[in-house]
């Protein structure tokens, strides 16, 4: 075993890991290592060759690789150590990391750890689409990586399942590379991705968007041959008699993203049942002291700009954990729970009174919506919103008074239509 001792170990060298590492350095941490399994930094951004990144942050609309390069340069300039093609195989509760690469096994002792593993795509088997198992079925992100990183075209006549941003972006990408994009199938009555993408990826290219539909069967012996789609009712159940067949040779699945937390679970980090991700406090610290989480492995973000802000906070917290600067924390912990209309809230715990930022998502589209944060019967915040939708993360600042903090009441976050 090759032994290492570092101040901060960051697991994942994508946008979250890089921003967190840079921030940790800027807040006083010295020896920082970023551990990345790929042979490149920047994570998923390297295959996101479309633009739209960094608009809020830089004022310019950058492509994924350009945004990544910005942070990679910052990390290298600040002498942050990078381990590429290195897989973390074990994370322990005492913040020791076991990783493996072509040089062998590494044991990394870290004073603080930042989890930045990102997320994974939902597969066919998460949703159990019936039918045969021919070749030609990809998750949208994998197809994107084949085309944009390996110059391999995945198919000629494609059906895309799911109208989230990844699916919409890939609809355009496939079209621009000469494929026939027959349709995008969406189970909900509205598209899941940004309106901008619906316009620039589907409408611009006359690609049909079939709302209120789902794929109920996949056919094909060696290769995909056709899919069966059905209209669904308001409970998302297929309506019998509405079946239609679509001939195709490729299916791209854009069924949603799931935070990746195999290592978190291994270290016995407490996982929140709503996010499927670590439960954190306002400093983005998990229940294990010195282990922090940020980025898509904590909750899936709408834009990389917002993700970077969160990652920088985690980097700051990880550095301050070591330098112990200004760390006023109390034994008291109050819990923040999602109430009516709210799918999830981050952070799930607050262990300091004062101003805290809450990030949340609505359960379903509401127009208008009133956001309410209450502790027992005390109202901490009422905010009227023009609209609320699951695909737009809501961020609000609340102030937890000493009185509320000491009472240990549960903070409930509600969205009322």
């Amino acid at each position: 075993m090759i032994e290492h001792s570092v101040d901060v170990a960051v697991i994942g060298g994508g946008p979250a890991g890089l921003a967190a590492a840079v921030s940790a350095k800027e807040h006083g941490a010295d020896q920082i290592v970023v551990i990345e399994r790929n042979s490149w930094l920047g994570g998923i951004l390297q295959q996101c060759i479309h633009d739209g990144f960094g608009v809020e942050e830089t004022g310019k609309s950058l492509t994924g690789p350009e945004y990544a390069e910005h942070y990679i340069n910052m990390a290298l300039q600040r002498n942050i150590q990078i381990m590429l093609e290195t897989m973390v195989i074990e994370l322990k509760g005492n913040r020791e990391i076991v990783a493996v690469n072509s040089n062998g096994l590494h044991n990394i002792k870290a004073k603080s750890v930042i989890l930045a593993m990102g997320c994974r795509e939902r597969t066919r088997w998460n949703t159990m689409i019936p039918g045969t198992r021919p070749s030609g079925i990809y998750t949208a992100g994998v197809a994107q990586s084949f085309i944009n990183l390996q110059n391999i075209m995945v198919g000629r006549k494609v059906v895309i399942v799911g109208s989230g941003d990844v699916g919409l972006i890939m609809a355009r990408r496939m079209k621009l590379e000469g494929a026939e994009v027959v349709a995008v199938i969406e189970i909900l009555p509205h598209p899941s991705g940004l309106l901008r993408n619906v316009v620039q990826c589907l409408e611009d290219y006359d690609i049909p968007l079939l709302l209120n539909h789902t794929v109920t069967n996949i056919e094909g012996k060696e290769r995909v041959e056709r899919v069966t789609i059905s209209r669904v009712d308001k409970n998302m159940k297929p309506i019998s008699g509405t079946e239609k067949q679509i001939e195709c040779d490729t299916i791209l699945l854009s069924l949603g993203l799931i935070p990746e937390n195999e290592l978190s679970r291994m270290a016995k980090v407490e996982i929140n049942d709503r996010t499927g991700a670590p439960s954190v406090n306002q400093e983005l610290e998990t229940n294990i002291p010195g282990i922090f989480a940020c980025g898509n492995c904590l909750h899936v973000h709408d834009t990389v700009d917002m993700l970077s802000i969160e990652a920088k906070k985690a980097g700051k917290s990880a550095a301050e954990y070591i330098t112990n600067a200004d760390r006023k924390q109390y034994e008291t912990v109050i819990h923040v729970v999602p109430g009516k209309g709210v799918r999830y809230v981050v952070p799930q715990r607050i262990n300091m009174h004062g101003k805290t930022e809450l990030m949340l998502r609505a359960k379903k589209p509401m127009e208008p919506a009133t956001l309410q944060v209450t502790a027992n019967n005390k109202v901490l915040l009422i905010k009227k919103l023009l609209c609320a939708t699951p695909s737009s993360m809501i961020k609000v600042d609340i102030v937890v008074s000493r009185e509320v903090f000491v009472s240990r009441d549960v903070l409930e976050v509600k969205l009322i239509g």
Partner: protein, 115 residues
Amino acid sequence: MHVKMHEKQIKVIEGNKCKKGVEYALEEVLNPRRVLTSSVLILGGELPIVSVKTLHPIQKEKISDALAEIKRSVVNAPIRSGEIVIKNVADTGINIVATKTVPRKRFLKLNQRRC
């Protein structure tokens, strides 16, 4: 936002939340433009293709001509992000630039192994 047209002339624009909305609506309706992103074959590089973009949005009608030019193009490594890959694509007056830095492929010495 709502835009009412009459024979290719804009009559009404309403519903914008800021000044930029009017600018955007005018452009979208009269002269819609898009940033085109794609990839170009690169020879001798660490990657087989380099991602590219039009430096500014180009007219929608020019997209298929631009794509044809991109498909025909080949560049040699190394390429720096921001370097011009195609000048004045499809006669739009707009250049296509690389969005990624791709170094020259290093060949491994005989005694280096990668497992």
